[in-house]
Amino acid sequence: MRNLLNFLIKYNYWFLFVLLEVASFVLLFKHNRYQQSVFFTSANVVSGAVYEVSGGITSYFHLKKANQELLDRNMLLEQQLDNLEKALRDHQVDSMAINSIKELPVTEYRLYKARVIKNSINLSDNFITLDKGSSSGIRPEMGVIDGNGVVGIVYETSPSYSVVLSLLNSKSNISCKIVGSQYFGYLKWEHGDSRYAYLKDLPRHAEFNLGDTVVTSGYSSMFPEGIIVGTVDDMTDSNDGLSYLLKVKLSNDFGRLSDVRVIERIGQGEQKVLESKIVR
């Protein structure tokens, strides 16, 4: 301590020297425009480099927050995209409906637009749920189609929802024929692959080729004639040997249904009542 004090006392002129020089340079930089600018420019180069390094480091600490913000933003954009796609789909459905209406006799059939909100393809009995129900005029036993062809038959309805018996259901049974001939059979799905169903009970004398188009026959009360179902993919004889068993490649991709239309046939009830009398 004593030595330190001695040292400080001995070299005290250094302190005065530094003090006076600092005072001079403070004055210099404060009042001389040129020196000031040079000093601050070079100082800015140094401080800029320092800030660049420290900014590079601190930016890592903000990565989590930035990531959060990006996620939020992404979510927002996805929502917007959803809304836009929905709007786009509505417009597409409109144009599709117009095309279908042109194809169908207006007086005999009426169409309801609906959206698939639940769907399955890999169960043994598949059902589809639509977002429209009895309050929109949908009743059981109505046919359901979309732009690619037959989808199924309305099974149950509630005021705002309806359950559709999908074509991919063992209970489904749709009367079909091959384009160009009047011979008809009925279409059944035999589990397994959602892309194929079987056309049964087609008479052995019917003429057709592989690749021919299968359409609804119009004999059922649900579908008008000529709604596409699929194409003939393969043919075998049925077990009893009296008819053909045709493997039909379905035109509809049941894995990505979204917008469908429900067909109401005017006079369907009347036809049913009449038919049920005969059966009894």
Partner: protein
């Protein structure tokens, strides 16, 4: 003692006035300006303490800066000169006559005093002009000016020394 101080303050004021009113306006060929005011610092007795010398030098430089509108420049340079002056004096003075002399041709001998003056003036000019340029990008011009100023200043000092005798 009081007489010494009056004498010193008289020199102080007159050198400052000489410097700011006359010598600062001299730029021979655009290079050489005499910085005669440091004559005041060089003529302090060799037994003067560094602190006292630096304070004198600081205020002298500061006054000149205030008059010539360059705050800090002359102050920094002359404080530096005052700081190293004892070392220079020790370097150029024969050891036996170091005690309490006032540096002059007579007390130190012509060659020693001349060397002492030249080195001191050179250091002061170098510091001052470096601060004024404040960059080494034009180092040739800087050196030229330092040498020119040193030459002119030393000449002026010899003249003053001759007149005083």
């Amino acid at each position: 003692m009081i007489l010494t101080y009056i004498h010193r303050i008289g020199w102080f004021i007159s050198l400052i006035l000489l410097q700011v009113l006359l010598l600062n306006n001299i730029h021979i060929a655009g290079y050489a300006t005499p910085f005669l005011y440091i004559y005041f610092i060089l003529k302090f007795g060799s037994d003067t303490s560094r602190n006292e010398l630096m304070l004198w030098a600081f205020f002298m430089g500061l006054l000149i800066d205030i008059f010539s509108n360059t705050p800090g420049m002359n102050a920094a340079a002359s404080v530096f000169l005052a700081f190293i002056r004892p070392s220079l004096l020790r370097l150029f003075t024969p050891r036996d006559i170091l005690d309490g002399i006032e540096p002059s041709f007579k007390s130190m001998g012509v060659s020693s005093f001349l060397k002492y003056m030249v080195v001191s003036v050179f250091v002061q000019s170098a510091v001052l002009l470096t601060i004024e340029f404040f960059s080494f990008s034009n180092i040739l011009l800087l050196l030229l000016r330092v040498f020119a100023c040193t030459l002119l200043t030393v000449s002026c000092m010899i003249a003053v020394e001759g007149i005083r005798k």
